[in-house]
Every structure is written in structure tokens, then in C-alpha cells.
């Protein structure tokens, strides 16, 4: 799925059909299922009951399975995510980034954007914005993605 060399409208066709086919299947399954009338909550207070259910306390007016252990596990998950994200994102030693000499905040597409802006401020910057945020729909101008950008 990620190995296709180029993107254009033609190559969106197959993924589009896949997604559409899945939706048709799901819709058929959903619409042919017959549900009884919903039981609802009968006006019982929902938010406090969520609190009781999450901490596994007696007192909630709406039945629920207990989520105390899930709450404890998710504490560990967040610690793990924190440690992982900090380890990955931290700059090395002397404040330089690994493998790249300067920081660019534009997704790496517009090293030459200044020259564009000089030549034609409006359309140039617009085209850059389209390219940066959404390279896929920039119809026909995918070649604008610079190939010599790779650091190292």
C-alpha cells in the first residue's frame, strides 16, 4: 500500500473502490440486522454513573462492567507513551538534531520557497501550501516534491 511510486487520481481508484466495497458490506450487514427498541437510561444520571463505573464504586444507577483495572493499566500505558515519545523526540547532546543540519518547520518541501515568494508572492505561496499540507491532491504537480531533499 505504501510502495506505490506516484499518486494521481487514477491510482486513487482501487483504494477508493476497496473502501466503498467495505462500506457497502458494512451497510448491508447493519441494515439487515434487526434491533429491538433501545433500552435507554430512563433519565438516570449518566455522567456520575460513568465515574462510579470507572472507579468500580457502588452507587452508579446504570449497570456497567467495572473498569478499575483498565484504569490502572492505562496509567502504565501513558507512562510508556511518555517515555517512548520523549526518548524518540529528544535532541542529542549538543542540541543538534540527528542527521539534519537545520530545522525546517514546513514539512521539508519548501527549501526554495523564498525564491518562489520573490518571483510571485501570491500564487507561489499558495502552491507551496497546497503541496505541503496535501501533496496528493496537487493535481498534476506532484513532480514539485523535491527529490534532493534528503538529509545525510
Amino acid at each position: 500500500m505504501t510502495t506505490r511510486p506516484r499518486l494521481n487520481l487514477g491510482s486513487h481508484l482501487i483504494p477508493g473502490l476497496v473502501a466503498l466495497a467495505l462500506f457497502v458490506v458494512l451497510a448491508l450487514v447493519f441494515l439487515t440486522a434487526s434491533f429491538p427498541a433501545p433500552q435507554g437510561f430512563d433519565g438516570a444520571p449518566i455522567t456520575p454513573s460513568i465515574g462510579y463505573a470507572m472507579f468500580d464504586l457502588a452507587g452508579g444507577q446504570i449497570p456497567s462492567e467495572s473498569f478499575l483495572i483498565a484504569f490502572e493499566i492505562i496509567d502504565l500505558v501513558l507512562i510508556a507513551a511518555l517515555a517512548a515519545a520523549v526518548m524518540l523526540a529528544r535532541r542529542e547532546g549538543d542540541g543538534k538534531l540527528v542527521g539534519i543540519e537545520e530545522i525546517r518547520t514546513d514539512g521539508g518541501h519548501s527549501r526554495d520557497s523564498t525564491t518562489d515568494a520573490d518571483a510571485d508572492p501570491d500564487s507561489g505561496s499558495d502552491a507551496e501550501v497546497t503541496n505541503d499540507t496535501d501533496p496528493n491532491t496537487a493535481t498534476g504537480s506532484d513532480t514539485a516534491t523535491p527529490t534532493g531533499e534528503e538529509a545525510n
Binding site: T2, V25, L26, L28, V29, F30, T32, A33, S34, F35, Y52, F55, D56, L57, A58, G59, E65, S66, F67, L68, I69, A70, I73, I74, L76, V77, I79, A80, A81, A83, A84, A85, V86, M87, L88, E92, V98, G99
Partner: protein, 515 residues
């Protein structure tokens, strides 16, 4: 007055409903030990984050933590906690279930984690972020032990994420190495996609039953259900989530890239422990919640696993046979072994449930040691920087005979020759497949094992029978890596005669699921 009144109700009214009694906490000792050790590492690291001299302290703490957890799990298993007459221990209102299967897999996870941590001490020498590395390994191991004990789809999903998130970061641990980063990216992309599919599957199962607890789902389904379509799509999507975690078709293609690019100890950890974690939770969910008796009439998922097993083992082994890098070959062979284990799920509902599932569990136990050992040998080769292809290993037997003997044991045991436990565990799977009438799967197992002998023996031939390149030289014999490789080899070998100790435990633990 209002405040004091509400304070009174706060103190007297709400009470914890399902927190386990103190005695039951003992059953969670391995989980608590792993989690606490991770937090202790956090503390050690924050006292003096930039000091390289506390590396032995970090590795030592991590190793002690996993060894203690391993010991606790073995003691609990031997003491019969959650097994036999009393039945499984249900904590937190059935959200956690400690039984023979959970403890059996905890032994696998903690053993693999111990080997990996001991080996990492040398592999990581002079690298930064060691505290984070060990901490993430321990947190992932905690997640895996929780997966083994998960008693509801909510707990399954959350503990699966606890096992996955640290793994993504561990694969990308070599931040300045393009292969490692790319492997981490691919692992993360496929992992995030499959966890989204898994979550959607859970929501559909909830839609069909109105429950998330495994026992409660089984209860709802036992009376038959009107919502066969929704349940079917949900079960398929849940199976997809497990296929990612176990590196089975159709979510297997991250495995070669991730295992090849990751640091070799991390590859060992993921391909052994993480795969076993995916399987234990698949066993429990499919055997308990979607128990074959209850849903056979509506959603016959054994057929889906039959197909997955056949395709997975064939693709894995044929792809492995065409590789020229040892690590990548091991990665594909790991996919193939997932296919063998899937036979345990495919052969359910044929009257021999305890036997076939037990056989899969034993294979995962043996695989935990032999595959971890093989990847750690690759780590040793990476430590010596002798290259990655089969040819680069030429004549290594003359330089490092002991490690090469160990590697030969791993290779032959993985192929299923009687020099290690792999022979017996594969034999059990074969007996289970034949005994339940799955002759096609049995034949595929034999064909694929024969094929795997070809590519595993290529490694052995390189090690012993090819002339070494002139430039081949190794510097030193790192103690930690050697200890881990030799330890894994000894246990792999001992599991050949000792398999019957494990097989009784595994079979009775598997049978207990269906009681």
C-alpha cells in the same frame, strides 16, 4: 451543611465493589514485579540521567526484576494457583483471570525478557537512553502478562496497547540508523491500523452482545443471537487484530521489515514474547468468549483459522527459503511458526480441544527459547560486525565454536530435528492435527518443516563447513550475550527430555478453558 453531607456520603457510601482480597494480590505478583521494576528504573534514571556509569545498575535492576517475576510465576504455577479444583481466580469482577494458561505464558514472557535484557547489556554498550530501553522492555512485558490474564475485551485492548506502544519505540530505538527508524515506522503504521480495526471489531461484538467481559459474551451467545451478521464482522475484525500481534497473514508483512531493522535483541523479544502474547489472548478470546460450541452454528471461525494457518505457514516458509540475510530469514520463519501455532485454533471444536491447544502452547514455550536464542546469536554477529548474509557467517565455527554449537541447536530445533524441544512440540501439533482429522494441515506442516530444514541447515553449513573469509575476525566474547545464547541453548536442549513436565501443565491449562 451540604458539603459535609456529601462528604459523609463520600466516605460511607461508595465502596470498591470488586477489588480483590489481599490474598488474591499474590496471584498478580509477576505483573506487579514487572511494573514496579519499570517504575524503579524510571526513578534511578531521573536521579542522574546523564551518567553513563549507572548502566550496570539499570541492566541489573531490570534483570533482577524479570528473574523475580519468572520465579514468582513458576512458584505460582507449581503451587496450583488458579488451577485444579478451585478454578481460575477472577479478580476485579472477572476483568482479570489468573489461571494455568495465564501463568504458563507469564513464564514464557519473563524468560524471554530475562534473556533479552541480559543480552542487551553488551549490545547496548556505549549507547544513550539505556534506562528508557530497559523500562520499555519491562512495560511491554507487563502488558503481555496482562494480556495473558485479560478477562474482558476492554482489558484485552488496553493491555495489548501497553504491549504495543513500547514495542514501536523499541524497534526505532537506534534513532540515527535509517533501517531501525524505517522499521519502527512500518511497525507503527501497521500496528495503529490493526488496533483501529481491532477496536471497531470490539465495538461490533459489543453491539451483538451488549457485553465486553469474555464470560458474559459467551453467556449471551450461548442462547443464539439474532445479530449474526454484526457478530461475524466483529469476530473477523478481532481476528485481524490478533493476526497483527502474532505476525500472521494478512497482517504479517510488517514482520520482515520490523525484525530486520530493529536492534536484534528487540527482534528476539518481539518475535518470541510478543507473538506468544498475541496467541494467548487469541486463545482466550476465541475459546471462552466465542466458544466453538456456542457460535459454531452462527459464526464458524475455525474455518477462517484453518485458512490462515495454511496460508501463513506456507508463505512464511517459502519466503524464508529465498532470503539471503539471516535475520530476514528468521523473520519469515517466525511467520511460518505462527502458522504452525494457528493449527491449535483451527483444530478446535473437534473433541480434542485441550490437546490441540496445549500443543500450541508448548510450541510457543519451546519457540520462546529457540527463537530468542537464534535472534540473540544474530545480535552477537551484529556486535562483532561481521555482516548479515549467510556468506558473512562462513567459518564462524572456527572462531566462536561454543556460540556456533548453540546456534546449530537452535536451527535444528526450529526445523524440528530431535536435538531440542522443537521436535517434540511440533510432534504434538502434528498429533493434534491428525487426531482431529485435519490431514491437509498435517501434510502442510510436514512439507513446510521439510522445506524449513533446507534454509535452517544453510546457516549451519555456513558456520561449520564453509571456509572463513580472510577478513573474518571477532573481537572479544561479550559475557552477557554469550550467557543469554548459551542459556537459551541449554534450555532448548533440556526441553527435549523435559517436555513432558511442560506438556501436562499446558494440556490441563488448556482443558480448563473449556471446562
Amino acid at each position: 451543611m451540604v458539603i459535609s453531607a456529601s462528604l459523609v456520603t463520600w466516605f460511607s457510601g461508595p465502596t470498591l465493589q470488586t477489588a480483590p482480597p489481599i490474598g488474591d494480590w499474590v496471584a498478580l505478583t509477576p505483573v506487579l514485579l514487572l511494573g514496579l521494576t519499570a517504575l524503579i528504573l524510571f526513578v534511578i534514571d531521573s536521579i542522574d540521567p546523564d551518567d553513563a556509569s549507572n548502566t550496570p545498575a539499570l541492566a541489573g535492576t531490570a534483570a533482577v526484576g524479570t528473574v523475580l517475576a519468572l520465579g514468582a510465576a513458576v512458584v505460582l504455577l507449581a503451587a496450583g494457583i488458579g488451577q485444579g479444583q478451585g478454578g481460575a481466580l477472577r479478580l476485579y469482577g472477572g476483568q482479570l483471570i489468573v489461571d494455568g494458561m495465564a501463568l504458563f505464558f507469564t513464564v514464557i514472557f519473563t524468560s524471554v525478557a530475562t534473556l533479552v535484557i541480559v543480552a542487551s547489556y553488551d549490545y547496548l554498550a556505549d549507547r544513550v537512553y539505556q534506562a528508557e530501553y530497559y523500562m520499555l522492555i519491562l512495560l511491554a512485558a507487563t502488558g503481555m502478562t496482562l494480556m495473558a490474564a485479560a478477562g474482558s475485551l476492554a482489558t484485552v485492548f488496553i493491555s495489548l496497547e501497553l504491549a504495543s506502544l513500547p514495542s514501536y519505540a523499541l524497534v526505532a530505538f537506534l534513532k540515527d540508523n535509517r533501517g531501525s527508524v524505517e522499521a519502527g515506522l512500518k511497525y507503527f503504521l501497521i500496528g495503529a491500523l490493526s488496533s483501529a480495526i481491532f477496536a471497531y471489531g470490539i465495538s461490533l461484538v459489543y453491539g451483538a452482545t451488549g457485553r465486553l467481559g469474555l464470560d458474559a459474551i459467551a453467556q449471551q451467545l450461548s442462547g443464539g443471537t439474532q445479530l449474526v451478521g454484526i457478530l461475524g464482522v466483529g469476530v473477523l475484525m478481532v481476528a485481524g487484530g490478533f493476526a497483527f500481534k502474532t505476525a500472521s497473514v494478512p497482517f504479517h508483512f510488517w514482520a520482515p521489515a520490523a525484525y530486520e531493522g530493529a536492534p536484534a535483541p528487540v527482534s528476539a523479544f518481539l518475535s518470541s514474547a510478543s507473538k506468544a502474547a498475541g496467541f494467548v489472548v487469541a486463545f482466550r478470546v476465541f475459546a471462552v468468549a466465542f466458544s466453538p460450541d456456542a457460535v459454531a452454528a452462527s459464526v464458524d471461525w475455525t474455518l477462517a483459522f484453518w485458512l490462515l494457518a495454511a496460508v501463513t505457514m506456507t508463505i512464511g516458509n517459502f519466503a524464508a527459503a529465498t532470503q539471503d540475510k539471516v535475520k530476514r530469514m528468521l523473520a519469515y520463519s517466525s511467520v511460518g511458526h505462527a502458522g504452525y501455532v494457528l493449527i491449535g485454533l483451527a483444530a478446535l471444536n473437534a473433541g480434542q480441544n485441550g490437546l490441540v491447544l496445549g500443543a500450541s502452547m508448548i510450541h510457543l514455550l519451546v519457540y520462546g527459547f529457540m527463537n530468542t536464542g537464534a535472534f540473540l546469536f544474530v545480535a552477537l554477529a551484529e556486535h562483532w560486525e561481521i555482516g548479515r548474509t549467510f556468506e558473512d557467517y562462513n567459518g564462524l565455527g572456527t572462531q566462536a565454536p561454543i556460540a556456533c554449537v548453540a546456534m546449530s541447536v537452535f536451527m535444528f530445533s526450529l526445523a524440528g530435528l530431535p536435538v531440542g524441544g522443537g521436535f517434540m512440540s511440533k510432534y504434538f501439533i502434528l498429533v493434534g492435527a491428525v487426531g482431529t482429522g485435519h490431514f491437509v494441515l498435517a501434510a502442510l506442516l510436514l512439507i513446510n518443516s521439510a522445506l524449513s530444514l533446507y534454509y535452517y541447515s544453510r546457516v549451519v553449513r555456513s558456520l561449520w563447513f564453509e571456509d572463513p573469509a580472510d577478513s573474518l575476525s571477532i573481537d572479544g566474547y561479550p559475557v552477557g550475550l554469550y550467557a543469554a545464547v548459551i542459556g537459551a541453548a541449554v534450555i532448548t536442549f533440556l526441553l527435549l527430555p523435559g517436555i513432558f513436565l511442560a506438556s501436562d501443565v499446558a494440556t490441563s491449562a488448556a482443558s480448563a478453558l473449556f471446562a
